[in-house]
């Protein structure tokens, strides 16, 4: 009985276990990998994609997909920079307005998907194209620079020790996890993702829930964009393109399903995001040939997903109820 409990525990936490193992492995190759500073770096680099992946998780939970997050990141960052540079808008206000850009794109997605009944894939593909096009149009493809008041934010520490971007990330994760696990809204989201028809019959306001996820995703994409610009200080025309795949990959690596109803923000998506970032950092630490790096990265991710799927079947087996009398 006790042994099965131990096995069950390990299986249930296998993602975390694997995570620690990878961490140790890189640490053995490059001892400096173990430093707190490094961990902080990993977290801070994971923060923006993590924030976006949290939003993506909401969308995936309903069985949707949001391909527009990369462009949302770009457009909102561009708007933020333009407002500050050309219209001398105070930084805080500019940031708020740029979040509104994300909100608007999310609302457009939501409207098209729930009211016009367009397919999420196509809808967000359209907003992806149009939002980036619009960004290019207003910048003429020229890079946007941010004043020091923005970039200095990345060096500021909340409570004296948590870098701002990590703090934002943690707050987003905390709120999202609470919402998903502890509120009616969150649980109903899982229900909608499990079976839309049932959910309608159960009296859940499905359209409203689905719409809200795109708004959340848009908003968080804009927030992720902001977190990035505090770190890199400049936005090129290619900023954010392809991030949608990274975000989806992080969420799916964390256990989310593209068909909805399955997935968690914590630990799932967070672990997924940080794991990818950690492997990337580890490869640089280990100073591995840059041509080989992506190959190793792919193999490790494959291992992670492989272990996860084996684990799932094992857990299923272990959790079968005992109908025999002892």
């Amino acid at each position: 009985m006790d042994r099965t409990k131990v096995i069950k525990f390990t299986l249930k936490n296998s993602t975390a276990v694997l995570f620690v193992l990878i961490f140790i492995m890189f640490g053995l190759i490059a001892p400096r990998f173990f430093t707190l500073k490094n961990f902080q770096n990993i977290m801070s680099n994971a923060s923006y994609i993590g924030i976006i992946a949290v939003g993506m998780t909401f969308v995936l939970l309903t069985g949707g997909i949001d391909l527009s997050v990369g462009s949302t990141m770009y457009l909102s960052a561009v708007v933020c920079g333009k407002l500050i540079n050309e219209f001398q808008v105070p930084v805080v206000l500019a940031v708020l307005l740029s979040l509104c850009v994300g909100l608007i794109i999310g609302m457009v997605n939501a409207f098209a998907i729930t009211k016009l009944r367009l397919v999420p894939f196509i809808t967000t593909l359209i907003t992806q194209t149009v939002a980036r096009g619009f960004g290019l149009f207003i910048t003429r493809s020229v890079a946007v620079n941010y004043p020091d008041s923005v970039t200095l934010m990345s060096t500021s520490k909340v409570l004296g020790f948590i870098p701002l971007q990590i703090f934002i990330f943690l707050v987003v994760v905390l709120i999202a996890a609470l919402v998903l696990n502890r509120t009616r809204y969150g649980r109903q989201l899982y229900a909608v993702g499990n079976d839309l028809e049932f959910a309608k019959k159960a009296g859940i306001k499905c359209d409203r829930l689905i719409a809200s996820t795109y708004v959340i995703s848009g908003l968080l994409a804009a927030l992720g964009g902001f977190v990035t610009i505090t770190q890199i200080g400049r936005v090129n025309a290619g900023f954010g393109s392809g991030e949608e795949f990274d975000a989806i990959a992080a969420a799916v690596l964390g256990g989310a399903s593209l068909f909805g109803g399955i997935g968690t923000v914590f630990p799932g998506t967070v672990l997924g995001t940080v794991m990818i970032e950690m492997i990337q950092a580890g490869l640089v630490f280990a100073n591995i040939d840059i041509y080989i790096q992506p190959i190793i990265m792919a193999l490790i991710i494959f291992m992670a997903v492989f272990i996860d799927s084996v684990r799932t079947t094992q857990i299923h087996k272990l959790e079968r109820r005992n109908i025999l009398k002892a």
């Binding site: 509120t183 019959k201 025999l324």
Partner: protein
């Protein structure tokens, strides 16, 4: 004088091609249980869906407490005090039992957006206890058996304080005990002044439970009145529109000596222990047991859906590989699962393709593997006709749009097309009407007389006793006893299933199984 709470007035509903309801009117009284019976596809569920806000009537109106009632959505119906237990279970498999029960409400902790987990679980536990369902509120629904799910669905409806409760075949996955228990609850609710509509194909249940009855046929109200006026045979005749004298056909015993299926000491940790069963050519072997006694699990092992740890299964004297349904089918096995929605049917696929699925290889050319569609649809059509399948088009209609009972017929049909030599039927008559049941029994008898062995799992003792040559009684993953046809005795069978001793048996394990 009668206290009418709800009335249908001239309700008409069409689905493309199907006239599901034609000018239906009747009333529901306070503190009464109204039975609604009719053949598969008569329109019962459609009628309930209209009341429950799932569908809108094409014509006609409804009145609730004398006021016009036009529910815009299930939520709206619920707000009007109408609660609906669907024929097809509407549970979210990725959520826990307690979450499913409170899915549309979720009691919140005061002034916070967060719900009160503890309270939710506590309420849930209470409800489950009242239904004598011993599962944890935290368990995910995907881990529950169909019967348990059905009880959870019922608990969900009971959790609200509705005035009107609609039960659309709530007992299809329940055994006698749970059914009795449910009836007790329903009677109590009735006595508290609630009104209930009860739909079922098990007419004896209907007789024992309801106060009034309405008979539906082809979408029309044929007849209605107090239950006393409707003895079973009358009900049946009204439902099917012709004279039917027997509920069960006569059995022709045709057992041959050749053993088709033989299980040797099959065991799997925590599920079944030391199962020895054999089925001979032309024999119908029944398996009876309470919910969760392991019959389904065993059937799945035999067919190769699940694997087992010890023992072996032989078909026609040759060992059958584990975990290969395909191989089992090749060796002549067929398996009608109890979970038709998830395992039996492709709901989004046309009827024809569903019927064809198993037999496709038989209809495809040797090398090119081109499917002979003409021959296929001809034979499928024949199967459909022989089962009295009620549909508009085999080719274009999706299974999803069939009535529950007709869906079940599709499942049976797809295996019949394969002409199996051993047919495993897990609750095959669940949800199908008397007429259709009769057809199924006739088919079983015919198959048996043609030499097919049948392993027949059912929770209705009567049908087992009527149809089987032998009945194996299960309890908690073990075979307790085997009755030969001549020894059939309902009380004895029930006692064994409850692990009570028979007067002539020892205590726990009554008799060793198998006569070899």
């Amino acid at each position: 004088m009668a206290d009418v709470v709800f009335s249908y007035k001239h309700i008409t509903k069409r689905f493309f091609g199907v006239h599901a309801l034609k000018d239906v009117s009747f009333e529901l009284e306070r503190g009464k249980i109204l039975g609604l019976v009719g053949e598969n596809g008569a329109g019962k569920s459609t009628l309930m869906n209209i009341m429950g806000g799932v569908l809108e009537p094409d014509e006609g109106v409804m009145q609730l407490h004398g006021a016009p009632y036009t529910p815009k959505s299930p939520l709206d119906a619920s707000a009007h005090g109408i609660e609906f237990i669907h024929q097809e279970l509407n549970l979210f498999t990725n959520l826990s039992v307690s979450e499913n029960i409170s899915i549309s409400k979720f009691p919140c902790i005061q002034k916070t957006p967060f719900f009160n987990k503890k309270q939710m679980r506590f309420c849930c536990k209470e409800l489950l206890d009242s239904l004598h369902l011993d599962i944890s509120p935290n368990i995910l629904v995907e881990n529950l058996s169909p019967g348990e799910r059905q009880l959870v669905e019922i608990a969900k409806a009971l959790s609200t304080n509705a005035d009107i409760l609609l039960f659309d075949e709530p007992t299809t996955s329940l055994t006698a005990k749970e059914t009795e228990n449910l009836f007790a609850i329903m009677r109590r609710l009735r006595d508290e002044g609630k009104s209930i509509i009860y739909i079922s194909h098990i007419l004896s249940d209907v007789i024992s439970l309801v106060d009034d009855i309405v008979v539906l046929r082809d979408g029309q109200v044929i007849c209605g009145g107090p239950i006393e006026d409707f003895p079973i045979h009358r009900m049946i005749n009204l439902m099917v529109g012709r004279e039917i004298s027997n509920v069960f056909p006569e059995r022709h015993s045709t057992i041959k000596s050749n053993v088709i299926l033989k299980s040797n000491k099959v065991s799997e940790t925590g599920i079944v222990r030391n199962i020895n069963i054999n089925v001979r050519e032309g024999e119908i072997v029944g398996m009876f047991g309470l919910m969760g006694s392991g019959r389904t699990e065993f059937a799945r092992m035999v067919f190769g859906v699940d694997s087992y740890r010890e023992g072996s299964i032989m078909v026609q004297g040759e060992p059958l590989p584990k975990h290969k349904p395909q191989e089992s089918i090749k060796r002549g096995l067929a398996f009608i699962t109890e979970n038709r929605r998830e395992e039996g049917l492709l709901m989004d696929y046309p009827i024809l393709e569903n019927i064809a699925l198993v037999s496709l290889p038989d209809f495809s050319a040797p090398i090119t593997r081109l499917v002979n569609t003409k021959r296929l649809s001809k034979e499928a059509q024949e199967i459909g006709t022989s089962l009295h399948l009620k549909c508009t088009s085999l080719k274009n209609q999706k299974v999803k749009s069939l009535s529950g009972g007709n869906q079940q017929k599709v499942v049976i049909g797809k295996w019949l097309l394969k002409h199996p030599s051993l047919l495993i039927m897990d609750e095959p008559t669940r949800g199908i009407d008397v007429g259709a049941k009769y057809e199924v029994y006739v088919i079983m008898d015919r198959l048996a007389s043609e030499g097919t062995g049948i392993l027949f799992i059912s929770s209705e003792v009567e049908e087992l006793m009527a149809m089987c040559d032998r009945i194996i009684v299960w309890s908690q993953g073990e075979v307790m006893h085997e009755f030969l046809r001549k020894d059939f005795n309902q009380e004895h069978i029930m006692r064994i299933a409850f692990r009570q001793s028979l007067e002539y048996g020892s205590n726990e394990k009554a008799v060793a199984n198998g006569q070899d």
